[in-house]
């Protein structure tokens, strides 16, 4: 392949649309060819212009609310004038900050986190969701619990101390009758943690929600070191 032929491949390379053999050959050439490196910059911009020339189709107004709700934006739906409550917006801010802290480089992790965000968002958006706050002292663990009888529960806790090495936070629901039931292990970067219960929660049969520290990678049976418990009622 001569230099002109490589130049012709710049746009396709920038799109990730070269066959594997061509891509390998192109990358080997690119390392030693200043013209092609300059050509690649121009190719990226040409690709953008081709994409941007797409005839516009406007998304639904509901999408704006859906997207921005995840970013803690106190959104007014421009088509319907519906305002989010500041409480839910604040909760969403915490959730996004949490997602940010959990970010992994892998694409798969993005998708997993996005699915989790959608489940959280579904609970936050549901009209029947009830909120319980706990621990008003800023220095101690404090936060909110959002409960939906059918969808599940979100626990947002702030002010959690950093767990000792080898220990992990675990969330629990405590029934009025019976032993505490573990929800999930969760991390608390910067003292902030979110735990999600993805199953129906009969609130009238529940006494409390609790957080404990548990030895990492050990099956949990009952809370080992209780950090806090807060009544659901």
């Amino acid at each position: 392949m001569n230099s002109d032929q490589f130049t012709d491949l710049c746009e396709l390379y920038a799109l990730g649309a070269l066959d594997p053999e061509e891509r390998t050959e192109f990358e080997a050439h690119l390392a030693g060819c200043a013209d092609c490196r300059a050509g690649l910059t121009q190719a990226i911009e040409l690709n953008e212009m081709i994409l941007s020339a797409t005839p516009r189709v406007e998304p639904s107004p509901q999408l704006r609310r859906r997207v921005l709700a995840g970013f803690g934006q106190p959104v007014k739906d421009r088509s319907r004038g519906v305002a989010w409550t500041l409480t839910l917006a604040a909760a969403a801010t915490l959730i996004l900050a949490f997602a940010w802290n959990l970010e992994h480089k892998a694409h798969l992790a993005d998708n997993v986190e996005l699915t989790r965000l959608r489940e959280i968002q579904q609970i936050l958006e549901a009209p029947a969701t009830k909120q319980v706050t706990f621990g008003p002292q800023p220095a101690a663990p404090h936060g909110s619990i959002f409960v939906h009888q059918k969808l599940g529960m979100i626990l947002i806790a702030d002010g959690l101390p950093a767990p000792p090495p080898g220990w992990t936070y675990e969330s629990w629901v405590v029934p009025k009758d019976g032993a505490p039931q573990p929800i999930e292990a969760f991390r608390a970067p910067d003292g902030r943690g979110i735990s999600l219960l993805r199953s129906p929660l009969p609130v009238d049969q529940m006494k409390a929600v609790a957080v404990s520290l548990e030895p990492t990678n050990v099956p949990v049976t009952k809370p080992t070191k209780l950090i806090f418990a807060t009544p659901l009622g």
Partner: protein, 187 residues
């Protein structure tokens, strides 16, 4: 030079300002949605991918060059790549391609020293040049840019010899490149 609005939005996004995300959405959601919908041809899927696009921009904006970065170029590429990732997952070929797309949407690739006016002129020229492509040239660009197909895959889909497809791609891109060069020379 970066569009002042975009520069300010990017700067505030880096400071985790959620209001800036609303401004970004209002400015680019139409473009993002249009590009994704054109690729996946399904409004519900397109909306999911729009959400994923804005999430990715938020999560990656710390790498964005607020002085020289092209926010529109970056976000439209992220949008296109989310759609292509999705289409490739349907064709059961994730993995290798996904890694490639991740590498090719790093915000550092989307920088410029030119003015917004220069880019606007060239964009108009490209728009006009796209109208001058023949049907087959337009078709191959649709398949490379909006379906993420390689030339070999296009040859299979169009049932044409690979050499013919390469020739179509080359001639289409050459016409577009020439239009950009001429537009730059006319200023």
């Amino acid at each position: 030079m970066v569009a002042p609005d975009d520069q300010e939005i990017a700067r505030r996004l880096k400071q985790r300002d959620a209001n800036a995300m609303a401004e970004l959405y209002d400015k680019y959601a139409g473009l993002v949605y249009s590009v994704i919908l054109r690729a996946v041809n399904n409004p519900a899927t397109a909306e999911d991918l729009v959400q994923e696009t804005f999430l990715r921009v938020w999560n990656r904006v710390h790498t964005f060059d607020t002085e020289r970065g092209r926010l529109e170029g970056w976000i439209v590429t992220v949008a296109r790549n989310r759609a292509i990732d999705y289409l490739r997952s349907l064709r059961s070929q994730p993995g290798e391609s996904t890694t490639t797309l991740e590498d090719l949407e790093h915000s550092g690739l989307f920088v410029t020293r030119e003015t917004e006016a220069d880019r606007l002129t060239r964009r108009k020229a490209v728009g006009a040049a796209l109208d001058r492509l023949n049907e087959e040239q337009r078709r191959v660009l649709e398949l490379t840019h909006f379906q993420g197909l390689t030339q070999t895959e296009i040859a299979e889909q169009m049932q044409k010899p690979l050499g013919t497809v390469k020739s179509l791609v080359r001639s289409a891109l050459k016409l577009l490149r020439t239009s950009v060069v001429e537009a730059a020379g006319s200023r």
